[in-house]
Symmetry: C2
Subunit: 379 residues, 2 copies
């Protein structure tokens, strides 16, 4: 990053000015949920973010390692389901027990971020926090580093709620979009956000992409801890009050399980986007120069794995004869495909899934039917 | 079976007369070949006839057990590949080493039957032999017993080469057919065989079936050992001479491996149908009253396994959602099918096959390509 002497405007609001000191940098990695669309690899006891879906390591480990040199390891918190605390600790050697917050049940992103923000503020009242998800796949480590630096600075200097916008590579219908507005003064290429829009249909998505004004809503944020807490308190006062009450019961070692069990399930299940960002006047969007994919189903992994000339994606030994556009995940077991097309084939050792690629979203529904099929142990 | 006093004609040729004494009854079970169409369950080291394809026991064990009460266990011989001798012995507790003949390589049915016939003649010069295949699936144990009794009697009294003809249940194109002629005098419902015909195309098969004159050629035979040897000597004299020479080198414990290694590969590879039966004037066909299936490929097992309302055939725990007409063989591993149709799914523990049902015949070709794909250990 170069620092230019750009005269009075830059001097007034030096968004590209001094870097945020490492001790003030924090990261909150959201790693809740099971990821049932990745059954049979994902289980209640083995959630998606702990799977080696995209590389030989878990997505959580990759997310944490991506922060090396950007956020001190001691300042990286992970919020996960309480039952996964031990596995999360095992997934990354730099994690300590005090940095893993275990939710009794999932209550969407606003309670999760609220709790983590209180914990960050307790440790460092002027922290700047990056909020990341454990199930995003990012490409371009250098670009990510540059963009995160820029976001830390923007969030700190202009007290913005910075969200990363992904320049769309196609008319995806599985993501929400951000409509970009004017450049943020003194912080180009950051832009104001004119609107948050829900997942569009294909025609609308095409229009968004061709307009050049829409970006994918990555769900990755950077903000000062005091700023997001102020905004959360303004827009979701009941949630903020409940979290503060819960936090007052904190002892050495964290909030007691009994306190959590009592308070947590009563929190509203609401997303940070809907509850805070869409209502706030302080949001800014930084167009990402790294690549980004939200790995939502087996179909999505196909783009990340080695693919043969016929479009068969697999990391396992594969013999494909007159077979095209299949996705194979068998943890090393050799597979022969003969005369088949557009399938997802997943072997988990104790269970096998054969699914049409266009039905990958419905894998979520499989899990709910296992019990009735006498296969409850595979949930 | 009832014995009727039917007057002079029956008295002249009492085909339904005295039963063949047990000590003269022999059986030869042909259990050669690998059955590569059943890959990945079948392997060079684990041939089809030793697989539990149709029940919880191997097809070979079922074939032998089917003879209980019909042929003394000591009179049941199995001809197999030499490398499978030990596995064949293990497959059935009633087998002894002296009753398992190991071919160095497969040379089709005429040499196999010729060798076994010499062995039977050595033990019992007036034996009547049933020749069966280890990879046929028969239904109706009582009907089979009745038909076999009838065939023993017919073969013994009229010195016929008796072949079982299967009343076709549909216009199968995977079987050869027998065209039935006149009733055999004094041995109804046995008929003369007017012609052996090759596997027909579908239109021809339909014509065969609607004519009522055609039966599937089961490849199951009953004959006196001296009669088949006489016919084999008449129609394949070189083969008979070579087998006799080989047999002269016989010692205690059987023919020496070195003798077999020298003589066997030089034998003509020819079927008993083509080499002897089609040329003989002593063939008779007994219409079977048991059901019969030659299990030639994964597709064929579908009819033998439990099948759900959507036509999914499986013996394994199966959850089928919007899935129809699939065949699943996973040796107990639970399988979920979602939105797929007409597939064969086979798990062998160390390898997985996903195949379109209409490509089952091509599984044979998979085995030849494993080596080049770096999967030679799975042959």
């Amino acid at each position: 990053m170069t620092i230019r002497a750009t005269g009075s405007r830059a001097a007034a609001r030096p968004a590209r000015g001094r870097r945020v000191e490492p001790s003030r940098r924090y990261a909150v990695v959201m790693a809740g949920g099971v990821g049932t669309r990745f059954w049979p690899w994902s289980r209640e006891s083995s959630p998606k973010q702990l799977l080696a879906l995209t590389s030989s390591r878990s997505m959580l480990a990759e997310t944490i390692e991506r922060l090396a040199g950007l956020v001190p390891p001691a300042n990286i918190l992970v919020v996960t389901g309480r039952r996964y605390r031990r596995q999360v600790l095992a997934a990354s050697p730099s994690l300590t027990a005090a940095n893993v917050l275990g939710e009794p049940i999932g209550r969407n992103t606003a309670p999760c971020i609220g709790w983590a923000t209180l914990e960050v503020l307790r440790r460092c009242p002027d922290a700047v926090t990056a909020v990341l998800s454990a199930d995003h796949v990012l490409g371009g480590a250098r670009a990510f580093g540059r963009d995160l630096e820029r976001a830390f600075t923007l969030a700190d200097r202009q007290q913005r709620l910075v969200t990363f916008g992904i320049p769309p590579s196609g008319p995806a219908t599985g993501y929400g979009y951000l409509r970009a507005g004017h450049l943020v003064q003194g912080a180009a290429p950051a832009r104001e956000v004119d609107a948050f829009v829900e997942k569009p249909n294909l025609a609308t998505a095409r229009r968004y992409v061709s307009s050049g004004k829409y970006f994918w809503n990555s769900g990755m944020f950077v903000w000062r801890a005091d700023v997001i807490w102020r905004e959360l308190s303004a827009h979701l006062p009941d949630l903020a009050a409940a979290l503060e009450a819960m936090n007052r019961g904190r002892r050495r070692g964290g909030i007691a399980a009994a306190t959590l069990d009592r308070a947590w399930p009563r929190l509203p299940s609401i997303s940070i986007d809907y509850g805070v960002l869409e209502r706030s006047r302080h949001v800014a969007m930084l167009p990402a120069s790294f690549s980004w994919t939200d790995i939502g189903s087996w179909d999505a992994v196909s783009g990340l794995w080695p693919t043969d000339a016929a479009g068969n994606a697999s990391r396992d030994p594969l013999l494909a004869m007159d077979a095209a556009s299949n996705v194979v995940a068998t943890r090393g077991k050799p597979v022969v495909l003969l005369g088949v097309e557009g399938l997802v084939v997943v072997d988990a050792g104790d269970a096998l899934l054969i699914c049409s690629r266009d039905r990958c979203q419905d894998v979520k529904g499989v899990v709910g039917r296992l019990e009735a099929a006498g296969l409850g142990s595979l949930k």
